[in-house]
Amino acid sequence: MRSLSGLWRVAELPTTRAGVERAFSYFTAGVRLGTVAQMVPAVQLGAARAPHEAGYLVCWGAAALAAVAVSVVTLVRRRPPGTVVSVLDFGLACALLVLGPLVLAPWDRFGTWTAFQPGYALSVIITAGGVRALGVWAGSLLAVSVCYVVYLGGDVGSEMTSTAVGNVLTYVVYALVARMFFGYTRRIARDADASRARAAELARREEERRAQVMMHNGVAVMRLLTEQGDDVSRARLVGQAEVELRRMRSYLRGTEGCASDGEGPSAGLVPTVGRVCERFADLNVVASLDLGTGLRIPAAQAEALERALGSVLLNVRVHARAHEVVVHLDATEPEGAWTLTVHDDGVGFDPASVTAGLGLREVVVGELRRRGLGVGIVSAVGEGTTVTVRSRPGPEAGPPGPAQPTVRAAFADAP
């Protein structure tokens, strides 16, 4: 039972193409077995009326056996007949057509299932639409058509000519329709698989990015912990390590980042920024947050902002060699909008020659932009670095001021 249910379980299909091929196998088996089912009621009558009963039964048996065999093979292989099987299948259909006049009474060749050969040939044509080799398919179709003409022989009365022509055209049209059906379905399956592969790759990259974002600050803190330092600085780092540890645990448990923007409780902006500044008190952080009193942001934005601000200050600690860091929060127009500026008076860097590290690129710029916040980073050698975060992207990339900054912008939101 288990193997049977496994045979039919669509959810286990590895690819859409495999699923389509399996569907083709069901289609093929259905058509072929359906044809046999149509042939069965007329076999007794056909044999009785046939000029050569044994020959008729042999032909009928060959057709039925071939149809069942093809059905079983396609169901087991989970794909429609291949080129070799199709050639053999076509060959048998042609042989049956050619032998038809020998085993059928002339008056039985049209409009009855005692003359099963044309219907059998049509089922072969339909199910062979999936043959990949175009030449084999076209040649076989031509051969069947020619054999049908042979089948008709010279016994077709003028009143049956139109029916005979219609049958030939039916072969051709059904063959084309079946081939287009197989072809287009396969193409859709290919596109679907390509899309699935791309989606999987994007998901993998996104997960990798999330892991990097989640781990980056923790790794930086651990690195600082391994370096020599006094007890006071180590105690501060241990506090930060605990924060990062909680964050990483949350990530590993799959509970981080559940809230999306606009959902969940809002958080006070001043407490959020102030909390991070306190963790970096040893950097001589001056936090001027009074102008942002009362501002609130979605919890998801607050979480991203806290992580980004932590990453910025870690960068300052590791790279900037700054004497002072000024964190300034300002409420701007329209109501509820705000600008957060982090400026250090450290060594700065030349954005043209320095590639942004993971912290700035992903934890700061990438994460904040994903949360709908505008980010600008401006730096120049010897002039420190200014990171500006806005509640929504604005035309100015650099630090807010009466005029555009003249130092080179490392990262900026497009206007």
Binding site: S288, L291, T386, G401, P402, A403
Partner: protein, 240 residues
């Protein structure tokens, strides 16, 4: 310049360590400096001068600043104090500069010279408070250009960076900044704690522990401070 610091090591070493300064008096108390009355461009003053062993009744903090400024001295506070309202109170009391003892020696020397030359050195924490007071219309005497300068400086931008944004030379910007900080300090001096509390969104009375009431201004500085003036102002421990 003169140095007032109860730590002898600090007051005696400033001269040798900062060759650009001419230290003509290095004393332990404001009372001693007033008694000597040296002619100096600036007095470098530690905020916390009282200590139980040597000078338990020494005048210190806001009272010390006011005592010196009333006698015409330019005062540059030299302390490890970091709380912004304490620093703002020093500016309000008349200090022309506040320099952190945590700064590198060369930078501290540079700032002392700046104050001695007539400049004003306002710590970043106080610049932030001043910006809030201006934005909340508590201080209204600023031109548009001065507001722009304050805007940039409050965000920590250097003179050079603000000067570039305003298309002026750095020296011009420094001149603007000196004028601006002097004006702001004067304005801050004229504000009551209640007005500042209101502008900053603080509860009434929150600043009283930082803002001196000025009752010591007229006290005789050559005498030790009376017990009322040497209360544990700002309710802090000793900070160097």
């Amino acid at each position: 310049m003169a140095v007032v610091d109860d730590a002898s090591l600090i007051r005696e070493s400033i001269g040798p360590l900062m060759p650009g300064l001419d230290v003509v008096a290095a004393v332990a108390t404001v009372e001693e400096l007033v008694r000597r009355s040296p002619a100096v461009d600036v007095v470098v003053l530690d905020l916390h001068l009282a200590n139980l062993e040597q000078q338990p009744d020494a005048r210190q903090g806001i009272a010390a600043i006011r005592t010196l400024t009333h006698r015409g001295y330019r005062v540059c506070v030299y302390s490890q104090e970091e709380r912004r309202f304490v620093l703002a109170a020093c500016v309000a009391a008349g200090a022309s500069g506040i320099v952190s003892k945590a700064l590198p020696r060369a930078r501290a020397e540079e700032l002392f010279l700046e104050v001695a030359a007539g400049g004003t050195v306002v710590p970043q924490q106080v610049v932030g408070i001043l910006e809030v007071l201006v934005r909340r219309d508590c201080i209204t005497l600023l031109s548009e250009r001065q507001r722009q300068i304050l805007h940039g400086r409050a965000r920590g931008l250097s003179y050079a960076q603000v000067a570039r944004e305003l298309f002026v030379s750095e020296s011009t910007l420094r001149g603007y900044w000196y004028d601006l900080t002097r004006s702001l300090s004067d304005s801050l001096r004229g504000l009551t704690p209640g007005e500042i509390e209101h502008a900053l969104g603080l509860a009434p009375g929150d600043l009283l522990e930082f803002w001196a009431d000025g009752t010591t201004d007229k006290a005789e500085a050559t005498e030790p401070a009376d017990p009322a003036t040497r209360k544990d102002w700002w309710r802090i421990g000793r900070s160097r």
